[in-house]
Symmetry: C2
Subunit: 326 residues, 2 copies
């Protein structure tokens, strides 16, 4: 089975790991392509960082820090301490030493003129990930946030500043993906979506992860036009965002933090949206009828990814909801 | 007293530290400018490295590794191990973690368009060095080595590859400083030489350290034209190069590894060269007459820099030989 997942960082990484685990157990001939958000990417200290791609790569390689939830396990921060002495980089954004290996390698290739997708191919070749990672685009189209300053006046800042430095606490007015109009999908992205047997939308941030992938010209149309069923997995469980700060993003674009509201935001393909089905949390089972009223197939299932068994079961539920397995 | 030193890396660093120590003790109003070789600089893993500038900076800051002889004390190599996994950089050239802080900071400033001299100013501002470091040039004019392959045929490689990877064991035919014709002295260099009360040539490699500084158009003329006395300190002690591999460089340009031969290579200003005086090692005292015959003032003195006392004494001997103190 050709499975294509659209994903953001940490939540996306766990979901993709579950998909891989399910496929290994029950559909070992499957191929898995993951189209990954690049809107969080940034230049920091002259180095190109790609947080979502790295989160997925590290998680699939088994070198991620499960406890902290991001970065490499066994990480140290000796280089960052030096950079702070010189005032280089963002003092609120730590570049781990092991992580810097990837940043330096990636940046050296980009400076040689290679596209990000080639850098990702080279980085991921280090481990047998069992999954192909595709950046949504090779273009630099970074998310910026227009915030209303409580003191008055509006400001614009890089998404990382809003998210990591301010913990999404400054009220966001709108998100802007700078330069996305000129961006084109990275090589392989449109084919991965168009030729898939099933397309899964990971339970990632609907606005600044999945939303930014879909905003790359051509990707939304590819999802709308693929012959494969498209299944979304709710990032909301029991009326709350699994990753708390996603709230602030939904609020900024006028969407309630509720599983049916997010489903409505994506919309049914039959009504101009991008989904055919929506996998709800069992805690939100009461919303099944509301979601059906949106024109979506739906079902309630356990969405908490606690370990490989629960993650693989979630992946199976999503693929089954697509109708491609029994 | 305005003291200007022309210096390469490790030997230059020890000598400059001695000059600073002598000045603190006996001439505390002195200012010390150091014009530093940049011919060893290189792009490694997309980062700009400047080994000689760093050796002097770390040594004067007291954060250098005295035992190993180069780099930062307490260094680790976690990032380099990662880079090796991806085949990025030179596997035979280790970038220490602490050292990488400087490389990343420097590179980020250079990528912003700042000149190397500004990067050096920013890096050195971290510590009260008591000395101003000036790169010989802001231009990239890297030394390359033409070698005769024992298997037959000539090859050209970056100086670092010849020096660090091959330990200068491949016979060098000639040295080439790529692009040096277009280079200009960094801001402050010509003034530091022209306005000095004394110019000291450190006991650094005469070919690939001092030679590369003098090859930057304008610098040799400034040394020849300064009103200050110019004193060289021999890098040869007892007929052997203090830093062994300097031999190979002298051989390549047809100069014997002998204190008088190196003095003759620099030459007396009165005869078209760059020196007025030459401080010989006491082990080479027998060469005093040969050096005088070159038109140079000379004197034999202890040249081994074992600690601050011997280094400061050496600096005093050099300044005294210049005739600017009694």
């Amino acid at each position: 089975m050709r499975i294509t997942v659209i994903a953001g960082g940490v939540g996306g990484a766990r979901f993709v790991r579950g998909v891989r685990e399910w496929a290994r157990r029950e559909s070992p001939d499957s191929t898995i392509d993951v189209v990954v958000n690049t809107g969080d990417d940034a230049w920091v200290a002259g180095l190109r960082i790609t947080p979502d791609l790295d989160s997925i790569m590290y998680t699939l390689a088994g070198v991620n820090d499960e406890q902290r939830g991001w970065g490499r396990v066994g990480e140290t921060e000796r280089v960052s301490a030096e950079l702070r002495e010189w005032g280089v980089g963002w003092p609120w954004f730590t570049l781990g030493d092991l992580d810097l290996g990837a940043h330096i390698a990636r940046t050296s290739w980009l400076r040689e003129g290679l596209p990000l997708s080639t850098a990702v191919e080279r980085l991921t070749a280090r481990w047998p990930l069992g999954v192909r990672l595709l950046p949504a685009t090779d273009a630099e189209a970074e998310t910026h946030v227009h915030v209303r300053d409580p003191e008055g006046g509006d400001r614009v800042m890089h998404f990382q500043e809003w998210w990591t430095r301010h913990r999404a606490a400054l009220p966001a007015v709108r998100f802007e993906q700078r330069g996305v109009e000129q961006a084109v999908p990275a090589p392989g992205v449109l084919e991965a979506i168009g030729d898939a047997d099933v397309v899964l939308v990971a339970p990632s941030n609907p606005v600044v992860s999945i939303g930014t992938v879909l905003a790359v010209p051509g990707i939304r149309d590819a999802v709308r036009g693929t012959a494969a069923p498209v299944v979304g997995v709710s990032p909301i469980i029991g009326g709350a965002a699994v990753r708390g700060m996603a709230d602030a993003c939904l609020t900024a674009i006028g969407v309630r933090t509720a599983a049916d509201a997010v489903a409505g935001h994506y919309g049914a393909r039959s009504r101009g949206g991008v989904l055919d089905s929506w996998l709800l949390a069992e805690e939100d089972a009461a919303l099944v009828d509301d979601v059906r009223a949106l024109g979506l197939r739906t079902e309630a299932a356990p969405l908490w990814m606690r370990d490989s068994d629960t993650s693989a079961a979630l992946a199976r539920d999503a693929v089954r909801l697509a109708g491609v397995i029994d």
